[in-house]
Protein backbone atom coordinates (compact mmCIF):
# COMPACT_ATOMS: atom_id res chain seq x y z
CA UNK A 1 0.00 0.00 0.00
CA UNK A 2 1.40 3.39 -0.99
CA UNK A 3 2.12 5.30 2.18
CA UNK A 4 5.11 7.57 1.55
CA UNK A 5 5.28 10.85 -0.33
CA UNK A 6 8.63 10.97 -2.10
CA UNK A 7 10.16 14.06 -3.64
CA UNK A 8 13.11 14.14 -5.99
CA UNK A 9 14.84 17.48 -6.18
CA UNK A 10 17.38 18.03 -8.94
CA UNK A 11 19.77 20.87 -8.16
CA UNK A 12 22.91 22.53 -9.41
CA UNK A 13 24.87 20.42 -6.92
CA UNK A 14 23.25 17.04 -7.39
CA UNK A 15 19.99 15.32 -6.55
CA UNK A 16 18.20 15.28 -3.20
CA UNK A 17 15.44 12.98 -2.00
CA UNK A 18 12.86 14.02 0.59
CA UNK A 19 10.11 11.87 1.97
CA UNK A 20 7.28 11.99 4.44
CA UNK A 21 4.40 9.89 5.67
CA UNK A 22 1.10 10.62 3.91
CA UNK A 23 -0.02 13.51 6.12
CA UNK A 24 3.09 15.31 4.82
CA UNK A 25 3.71 16.95 8.17
CA UNK A 26 7.47 16.62 8.14
CA UNK A 27 9.85 15.75 5.31
CA UNK A 28 13.30 14.29 5.84
CA UNK A 29 16.04 15.11 3.33
CA UNK A 30 18.84 12.98 1.92
CA UNK A 31 21.59 13.99 -0.48
CA UNK A 32 23.10 15.44 -2.45
CA UNK A 33 23.61 12.41 -4.66
CA UNK A 34 25.84 12.70 -7.68
CA UNK A 35 28.87 14.39 -6.20
CA UNK A 36 27.98 18.02 -6.71
CA UNK A 37 27.19 17.56 -10.40
CA UNK A 38 24.06 19.30 -11.78
CA UNK A 39 20.95 17.12 -12.03
CA UNK A 40 18.85 18.61 -14.81
CA UNK A 41 16.24 15.88 -14.75
CA UNK A 42 14.79 13.44 -12.24
CA UNK A 43 12.19 10.69 -12.46
CA UNK A 44 10.27 8.65 -9.93
CA UNK A 45 9.25 5.52 -11.82
CA UNK A 46 6.38 3.93 -9.90
CA UNK A 47 5.85 0.98 -12.22
CA UNK A 48 6.49 -2.13 -10.10
CA UNK A 49 9.21 -1.65 -7.50
CA UNK A 50 9.79 2.11 -7.47
CA UNK A 51 12.98 3.33 -9.08
CA UNK A 52 14.38 6.80 -8.80
CA UNK A 53 16.49 8.32 -11.56
CA UNK A 54 18.54 11.46 -11.90
CA UNK A 55 20.59 12.78 -14.74
CA UNK A 56 24.10 13.74 -13.69
CA UNK A 57 25.27 16.32 -16.17
CA UNK A 58 29.00 16.48 -15.67
CA UNK A 59 30.65 19.31 -17.60
CA UNK A 60 34.02 17.58 -17.32
CA UNK A 61 33.34 13.89 -17.87
CA UNK A 62 30.03 13.83 -19.71
CA UNK A 63 26.54 12.61 -19.01
CA UNK A 64 25.53 9.87 -16.59
CA UNK A 65 22.23 8.46 -15.42
CA UNK A 66 21.91 7.62 -11.72
CA UNK A 67 19.44 5.02 -10.46
CA UNK A 68 18.19 4.14 -7.00
CA UNK A 69 16.31 0.96 -6.16
CA UNK A 70 16.01 1.70 -2.43
CA UNK A 71 13.82 4.81 -2.58
CA UNK A 72 16.72 7.19 -2.66
CA UNK A 73 18.91 5.88 0.11
CA UNK A 74 21.66 5.27 -2.46
CA UNK A 75 22.24 5.82 -6.17
CA UNK A 76 24.45 4.05 -8.69
CA UNK A 77 25.35 4.91 -12.26
CA UNK A 78 23.53 2.89 -14.87
CA UNK A 79 25.77 0.87 -17.18
CA UNK A 80 25.63 3.52 -19.88
CA UNK A 81 24.14 6.88 -20.72
CA UNK A 82 22.55 8.18 -23.93
CA UNK A 83 25.14 8.77 -26.63
CA UNK A 84 24.87 9.49 -30.34
CA UNK A 85 26.17 6.92 -32.81
CA UNK A 86 29.85 7.47 -33.49
CA UNK A 87 29.37 8.67 -37.05
CA UNK A 88 26.50 11.05 -36.18
CA UNK A 89 28.67 14.08 -35.51
CA UNK A 90 26.66 15.23 -32.47
CA UNK A 91 27.59 14.79 -28.82
CA UNK A 92 25.18 14.78 -25.88
CA UNK A 93 25.68 18.03 -23.99
CA UNK A 94 22.94 17.65 -21.38
CA UNK A 95 20.17 15.34 -20.24
CA UNK A 96 16.97 17.36 -19.92
CA UNK A 97 14.20 14.83 -19.43
CA UNK A 98 13.68 11.30 -18.17
CA UNK A 99 10.29 9.61 -18.48
CA UNK A 100 8.86 6.13 -18.17
CA UNK A 101 8.40 4.45 -21.55
CA UNK A 102 5.89 1.94 -22.86
CA UNK A 103 7.44 -1.32 -21.70
CA UNK A 104 7.90 -2.35 -18.08
CA UNK A 105 11.52 -1.19 -17.93
CA UNK A 106 11.46 1.24 -20.86
CA UNK A 107 12.79 4.71 -20.26
CA UNK A 108 12.76 7.71 -22.56
CA UNK A 109 15.33 10.46 -22.36
CA UNK A 110 15.44 13.88 -23.99
CA UNK A 111 18.82 15.49 -24.44
CA UNK A 112 20.65 18.51 -25.77
CA UNK A 113 21.11 18.84 -28.72
CA UNK A 114 17.40 18.06 -29.03
CA UNK A 115 17.13 14.30 -29.52
CA UNK A 116 15.33 11.38 -27.99
CA UNK A 117 16.78 8.14 -26.64
CA UNK A 118 15.08 4.96 -25.49
CA UNK A 119 16.29 2.40 -22.98
CA UNK A 120 14.69 -1.07 -22.81
CA UNK A 121 16.35 -2.00 -19.52
CA UNK A 122 15.91 0.77 -17.01
CA UNK A 123 18.78 2.89 -18.25
CA UNK A 124 21.56 0.35 -18.73
CA UNK A 125 21.56 0.59 -22.52
CA UNK A 126 20.25 3.29 -24.87
CA UNK A 127 19.41 3.69 -28.51
CA UNK A 128 18.68 6.89 -30.36
CA UNK A 129 15.09 7.33 -31.60
CA UNK A 130 15.72 8.25 -35.20
CA UNK A 131 12.15 9.36 -35.96
CA UNK A 132 12.69 12.63 -34.10
CA UNK A 133 16.46 12.80 -33.60
CA UNK A 134 17.04 12.62 -37.34
CA UNK A 135 13.84 14.46 -38.27
CA UNK A 136 14.21 16.62 -41.36
CA UNK A 137 13.67 19.67 -39.12
CA UNK A 138 16.27 18.71 -36.53
CA UNK A 139 19.16 20.61 -38.06
CA UNK A 140 16.96 23.71 -38.37
CA UNK A 141 15.99 23.96 -34.69
CA UNK A 142 17.71 26.77 -32.83
CA UNK A 143 18.94 26.76 -29.22
CA UNK A 144 16.96 28.72 -26.66
CA UNK A 145 18.48 30.31 -23.57
CA UNK A 146 19.02 26.90 -21.98
CA UNK A 147 20.43 25.31 -25.11
CA UNK A 148 18.75 23.27 -27.83
CA UNK A 149 16.94 20.95 -25.49
CA UNK A 150 14.27 18.27 -25.64
CA UNK A 151 12.86 18.95 -22.23
CA UNK A 152 9.37 17.45 -22.28
CA UNK A 153 8.22 13.91 -23.02
CA UNK A 154 4.53 13.14 -22.50
CA UNK A 155 3.22 9.66 -23.24
CA UNK A 156 -0.44 8.89 -23.86
CA UNK A 157 -0.85 5.35 -25.12
CA UNK A 158 0.51 5.29 -28.64
CA UNK A 159 0.93 9.06 -28.66
CA UNK A 160 4.18 10.72 -27.67
CA UNK A 161 4.29 14.49 -27.25
CA UNK A 162 7.69 16.19 -27.24
CA UNK A 163 8.57 19.73 -26.23
CA UNK A 164 11.65 21.18 -27.86
CA UNK A 165 13.14 24.57 -27.20
CA UNK A 166 13.26 25.88 -29.78
CA UNK A 167 11.59 23.40 -32.07
CA UNK A 168 8.06 23.44 -30.75
CA UNK A 169 5.64 20.60 -30.10
CA UNK A 170 6.14 17.36 -32.00
CA UNK A 171 3.61 14.55 -31.92
CA UNK A 172 3.92 10.86 -32.67
CA UNK A 173 0.80 8.75 -33.03
CA UNK A 174 2.60 5.50 -33.78
CA UNK A 175 4.34 4.87 -30.48
CA UNK A 176 7.31 7.09 -31.19
CA UNK A 177 8.33 5.78 -34.59
CA UNK A 178 7.55 8.94 -36.55
CA UNK A 179 6.88 12.51 -35.49
CA UNK A 180 5.23 15.57 -36.99
CA UNK A 181 5.28 19.18 -35.79
CA UNK A 182 1.91 19.99 -34.24
CA UNK A 183 1.89 23.69 -33.48
CA UNK A 184 -1.41 24.93 -34.88
CA UNK A 185 -2.18 27.90 -32.60
CA UNK A 186 1.22 27.92 -30.89
CA UNK A 187 2.78 31.35 -31.35
CA UNK A 188 6.43 32.27 -31.70
CA UNK A 189 7.68 35.67 -30.63
CA UNK A 190 11.11 35.71 -32.13
CA UNK A 191 10.35 35.12 -35.80
CA UNK A 192 8.66 37.31 -38.38
CA UNK A 193 5.96 34.66 -38.84
CA UNK A 194 3.96 34.63 -35.59
CA UNK A 195 2.63 31.11 -36.20
CA UNK A 196 5.33 29.06 -37.94
CA UNK A 197 5.03 25.34 -38.64
CA UNK A 198 7.79 24.68 -36.11
CA UNK A 199 10.47 26.54 -34.19
CA UNK A 200 8.39 27.69 -31.21
CA UNK A 201 10.03 27.92 -27.81
CA UNK A 202 7.72 25.58 -25.95
CA UNK A 203 8.51 25.57 -22.22
CA UNK A 204 6.38 22.74 -20.84
CA UNK A 205 3.46 20.47 -21.80
CA UNK A 206 1.24 18.44 -19.46
CA UNK A 207 -1.70 16.12 -20.00
CA UNK A 208 -4.42 14.68 -17.81
CA UNK A 209 -6.03 11.25 -17.70
CA UNK A 210 -9.30 12.87 -16.64
CA UNK A 211 -10.17 14.46 -19.99
CA UNK A 212 -9.25 12.61 -23.19
CA UNK A 213 -7.29 14.81 -25.56
CA UNK A 214 -6.73 17.61 -23.04
CA UNK A 215 -3.25 19.10 -22.80
CA UNK A 216 -1.91 22.35 -21.41
CA UNK A 217 1.20 24.18 -22.58
CA UNK A 218 3.38 26.91 -21.16
CA UNK A 219 4.91 28.54 -24.20
CA UNK A 220 7.44 31.36 -24.43
CA UNK A 221 5.19 34.40 -23.97
CA UNK A 222 5.95 38.02 -23.32
CA UNK A 223 5.48 39.33 -26.87
CA UNK A 224 2.44 41.56 -26.44
CA UNK A 225 4.50 44.74 -26.96
CA UNK A 226 6.38 43.59 -30.04
CA UNK A 227 6.19 46.16 -32.83
CA UNK A 228 8.43 44.53 -35.43
CA UNK A 229 7.51 42.33 -38.40
CA UNK A 230 4.41 40.28 -37.77
CA UNK A 231 3.15 42.63 -35.06
CA UNK A 232 2.36 42.03 -31.41
CA UNK A 233 1.58 38.52 -30.17
CA UNK A 234 -0.40 38.87 -26.95
CA UNK A 235 -1.32 35.86 -24.86
CA UNK A 236 0.67 33.26 -26.78
CA UNK A 237 2.26 31.99 -23.56
CA UNK A 238 -0.39 29.74 -21.97
CA UNK A 239 -2.34 27.37 -24.18
CA UNK A 240 -4.79 24.48 -24.13
CA UNK A 241 -5.57 21.66 -26.53
CA UNK A 242 -8.67 19.46 -26.51
CA UNK A 243 -7.77 17.34 -29.52
CA UNK A 244 -4.61 15.53 -28.43
CA UNK A 245 -2.35 18.41 -29.34
CA UNK A 246 -3.45 18.89 -32.94
CA UNK A 247 -4.66 22.43 -32.28
CA UNK A 248 -4.05 24.86 -29.45
CA UNK A 249 -5.81 27.98 -28.15
CA UNK A 250 -4.75 30.67 -25.73
CA UNK A 251 -5.96 30.62 -22.13
CA UNK A 252 -3.58 33.35 -20.96
CA UNK A 253 -6.11 36.15 -20.45
CA UNK A 254 -6.28 37.18 -16.80
CA UNK A 255 -2.69 36.32 -15.94
CA UNK A 256 -0.24 39.08 -14.95
CA UNK A 257 2.25 37.74 -17.50
CA UNK A 258 2.00 35.03 -20.11
CA UNK A 259 5.68 34.23 -19.60
CA UNK A 260 6.63 31.36 -17.32
CA UNK A 261 8.17 27.93 -17.31
CA UNK A 262 6.21 25.24 -15.43
CA UNK A 263 2.59 24.22 -15.88
CA UNK A 264 0.87 21.59 -13.76
CA UNK A 265 -2.59 20.02 -13.96
CA UNK A 266 -4.60 18.80 -10.98
CA UNK A 267 -4.56 14.98 -10.72
CA UNK A 268 -8.33 14.67 -10.21
CA UNK A 269 -9.80 17.69 -12.00
CA UNK A 270 -8.80 18.31 -15.63
CA UNK A 271 -10.05 21.90 -15.46
CA UNK A 272 -7.72 22.88 -12.64
CA UNK A 273 -4.33 24.01 -13.87
CA UNK A 274 -1.46 25.92 -12.27
CA UNK A 275 1.21 28.27 -13.65
CA UNK A 276 3.88 30.55 -12.20
CA UNK A 277 3.82 33.77 -14.24
CA UNK A 278 7.15 35.57 -14.41
CA UNK A 279 8.10 39.08 -15.39
CA UNK A 280 9.39 38.68 -18.92
CA UNK A 281 12.61 40.69 -18.84
CA UNK A 282 13.96 39.47 -15.51
CA UNK A 283 12.11 36.14 -15.52
CA UNK A 284 11.45 36.53 -11.81
CA UNK A 285 8.35 37.09 -9.68
CA UNK A 286 6.34 40.10 -10.92
CA UNK A 287 6.75 42.97 -8.48
CA UNK A 288 8.97 40.85 -6.27
CA UNK A 289 5.88 39.07 -4.94
CA UNK A 290 5.73 35.38 -5.92
CA UNK A 291 2.43 33.73 -6.69
CA UNK A 292 1.14 30.53 -8.19
CA UNK A 293 -1.91 31.18 -10.38
CA UNK A 294 -4.70 28.64 -10.61
CA UNK A 295 -7.56 28.23 -13.02
CA UNK A 296 -10.44 25.98 -12.01
CA UNK A 297 -12.28 26.28 -15.30
CA UNK A 298 -9.76 25.14 -17.84
CA UNK A 299 -8.17 28.54 -18.27
CA UNK A 300 -11.25 30.73 -18.62
CA UNK A 301 -10.24 32.69 -15.53
CA UNK A 302 -7.37 32.70 -13.04
CA UNK A 303 -6.88 33.35 -9.34
CA UNK A 304 -3.74 34.15 -7.38
CA UNK A 305 -2.50 31.79 -4.66
CA UNK A 306 -0.14 33.52 -2.23
CA UNK A 307 -1.03 32.56 1.33
CA UNK A 308 2.25 31.87 3.10
CA UNK A 309 4.48 33.06 0.25
CA UNK A 310 6.68 36.17 0.63
CA UNK A 311 4.87 39.44 -0.05
CA UNK A 312 7.80 41.49 -1.34
CA UNK A 313 11.51 41.66 -2.25
CA UNK A 314 11.52 38.15 -3.70
CA UNK A 315 13.00 37.58 -7.14
CA UNK A 316 13.40 33.88 -7.74
CA UNK A 317 12.60 31.86 -10.84
CA UNK A 318 10.77 28.54 -10.98
CA UNK A 319 12.19 26.55 -13.89
CA UNK A 320 10.22 24.37 -16.31
CA UNK A 321 10.41 21.19 -14.23
CA UNK A 322 10.44 23.04 -10.95
CA UNK A 323 6.82 22.38 -9.96
CA UNK A 324 4.80 19.21 -9.46
CA UNK A 325 1.64 18.03 -7.68
CA UNK A 326 1.02 14.85 -5.74
CA UNK A 327 -1.96 12.54 -6.24
CA UNK A 328 -3.42 12.40 -2.76
CA UNK A 329 -7.12 13.14 -2.27
CA UNK A 330 -6.35 16.76 -1.40
CA UNK A 331 -3.21 17.18 -3.42
CA UNK A 332 -0.26 19.36 -2.52
CA UNK A 333 1.79 21.35 -4.98
CA UNK A 334 5.54 21.62 -4.67
CA UNK A 335 7.86 24.11 -6.32
CA UNK A 336 11.60 24.67 -6.11
CA UNK A 337 13.30 27.97 -6.79
CA UNK A 338 16.54 29.10 -8.33
CA UNK A 339 17.34 30.49 -4.88
CA UNK A 340 17.19 27.00 -3.37
CA UNK A 341 13.86 27.04 -1.58
CA UNK A 342 11.42 24.15 -1.76
CA UNK A 343 7.81 25.15 -1.11
CA UNK A 344 4.74 23.01 -0.48
CA UNK A 345 1.26 24.32 -1.28
CA UNK A 346 -1.19 22.32 0.77
CA UNK A 347 -4.86 21.92 -0.20
CA UNK A 348 -4.13 22.43 -3.88
CA UNK A 349 -1.99 25.51 -3.30
CA UNK A 350 -4.25 27.29 -0.80
CA UNK A 351 -1.57 27.48 1.88
CA UNK A 352 2.17 27.63 1.27
CA UNK A 353 5.01 26.61 3.53
CA UNK A 354 8.77 26.49 2.91
CA UNK A 355 10.00 22.93 3.46
CA UNK A 356 13.69 23.59 2.82
CA UNK A 357 15.13 27.06 2.76
CA UNK A 358 18.71 26.77 1.57
CA UNK A 359 19.23 24.06 -0.99
CA UNK A 360 21.38 24.68 -4.07
CA UNK A 361 19.56 26.29 -7.03
CA UNK A 362 16.72 23.92 -7.90
CA UNK A 363 16.28 22.70 -11.48
CA UNK A 364 13.43 20.25 -11.02
CA UNK A 365 11.01 18.76 -8.51
CA UNK A 366 9.15 15.48 -8.92
CA UNK A 367 6.72 13.89 -6.48
CA UNK A 368 5.11 10.46 -6.18
CA UNK A 369 3.22 8.51 -3.57
CA UNK A 370 4.85 5.10 -3.17
Amino acid sequence: MADRVVLMIGTKKGAFVADAAKPRKSFSLRGPFGGGIPAYSTLIDTRGTPRLYASSCNPFFGMKVLRSTDLGKSFKETKSAPAFPKDDGRAVANIWSLEAGGGKKDLLCGVEPASLFRSPDGGDSWEMVAGISNHEHARKWQPGGGGLCMHTIVRDGNRVHLGISTGGHYLSEDGGQTFKPSNNGVGAGFAPDPYPEFGQCVHKIVRTDRAPGRLYMQNHGGWAEWTGPGGPRPDIGVLRSDDYGHTWRSIAKGLPSDFGFPIVVHPHDPDTVYVVPLEVTTRTCPGGAPAVWRSENGGESWSRLTKGLPKKETFFTVLRDGMDIDELKSPALYFGTTTGQLWIGRDGGEKWECLFDALPPIHNVKVAVV
Binding site: G35, F61, G62, F84, P85, A91, V92
Partner: protein
Protein backbone atom coordinates in the same frame (compact mmCIF):
# COMPACT_ATOMS: atom_id res chain seq x y z
CA UNK B 1 44.74 8.81 -12.85
CA UNK B 2 42.39 11.31 -11.29
CA UNK B 3 40.40 9.74 -8.44
CA UNK B 4 37.06 10.39 -10.11
CA UNK B 5 38.19 8.38 -13.15
CA UNK B 6 39.65 5.36 -11.37
CA UNK B 7 36.22 3.84 -10.89
CA UNK B 8 36.02 3.48 -14.67
CA UNK B 9 39.27 1.48 -14.99
CA UNK B 10 39.13 -0.96 -12.11
CA UNK B 11 40.78 1.40 -9.65
CA UNK B 12 44.04 1.68 -11.59
CA UNK B 13 46.14 4.71 -10.74
CA UNK B 14 48.11 4.47 -13.98
CA UNK B 15 47.73 2.67 -17.29
CA UNK B 16 50.52 1.71 -19.70
CA UNK B 17 50.42 2.29 -23.43
CA UNK B 18 52.82 1.73 -26.29
CA UNK B 19 51.00 4.32 -28.44
CA UNK B 20 53.21 6.75 -30.36
CA UNK B 21 50.81 9.69 -30.31
CA UNK B 22 48.18 11.09 -27.95
CA UNK B 23 45.49 10.19 -30.48
CA UNK B 24 46.72 6.61 -30.63
CA UNK B 25 46.72 6.47 -26.82
CA UNK B 26 43.10 7.62 -26.77
CA UNK B 27 42.21 5.04 -29.43
CA UNK B 28 43.91 2.47 -27.25
CA UNK B 29 41.62 3.50 -24.40
CA UNK B 30 38.59 3.32 -26.67
CA UNK B 31 39.41 -0.30 -27.48
CA UNK B 32 40.43 -1.52 -24.05
CA UNK B 33 38.95 0.86 -21.46
CA UNK B 34 35.78 2.13 -23.09
CA UNK B 35 34.09 3.38 -19.90
CA UNK B 36 37.15 5.45 -19.08
CA UNK B 37 37.45 6.63 -22.67
CA UNK B 38 33.83 7.86 -22.69
CA UNK B 39 34.65 10.10 -19.73
CA UNK B 40 37.54 11.65 -21.61
CA UNK B 41 36.19 11.85 -25.17
CA UNK B 42 32.67 12.49 -26.43
CA UNK B 43 30.85 10.53 -29.13
CA UNK B 44 32.62 12.46 -31.89
CA UNK B 45 36.02 11.39 -30.55
CA UNK B 46 36.91 14.90 -29.35
CA UNK B 47 38.55 15.34 -25.97
CA UNK B 48 35.88 16.84 -23.71
CA UNK B 49 35.94 20.60 -23.66
CA UNK B 50 36.77 21.08 -20.00
CA UNK B 51 39.60 18.55 -19.83
CA UNK B 52 43.28 19.26 -20.31
CA UNK B 53 45.73 16.69 -21.61
CA UNK B 54 49.38 17.00 -20.67
CA UNK B 55 52.41 15.18 -22.02
CA UNK B 56 54.82 15.33 -19.13
CA UNK B 57 54.33 18.98 -18.06
CA UNK B 58 53.18 20.44 -21.38
CA UNK B 59 49.54 20.92 -22.32
CA UNK B 60 49.03 19.29 -25.73
CA UNK B 61 47.11 22.42 -26.70
CA UNK B 62 50.53 24.14 -26.74
CA UNK B 63 52.15 21.27 -28.60
CA UNK B 64 50.48 19.50 -31.52
CA UNK B 65 47.11 18.65 -29.99
CA UNK B 66 46.17 15.00 -30.10
CA UNK B 67 48.78 14.50 -32.82
CA UNK B 68 51.51 15.19 -30.25
CA UNK B 69 54.05 12.41 -30.38
CA UNK B 70 54.80 10.18 -27.42
CA UNK B 71 58.16 8.66 -26.57
CA UNK B 72 58.97 5.78 -24.19
CA UNK B 73 58.82 7.07 -20.61
CA UNK B 74 56.51 10.00 -21.34
CA UNK B 75 53.66 10.52 -18.88
CA UNK B 76 50.23 11.42 -20.22
CA UNK B 77 48.07 13.19 -17.63
CA UNK B 78 44.40 14.07 -18.03
CA UNK B 79 42.99 16.71 -15.67
CA UNK B 80 39.83 18.77 -15.45
CA UNK B 81 40.28 22.45 -16.20
CA UNK B 82 40.16 24.82 -13.26
CA UNK B 83 36.64 25.98 -12.62
CA UNK B 84 34.38 27.13 -9.88
CA UNK B 85 30.79 28.02 -9.07
Amino acid sequence: MLGALRTYCGGAEQLQTSARTVRAALEDLERHQFALYRNICDETGAVRRHLNVFVNTENVRDLNGVETKLSPGDVLTILPAVSGG
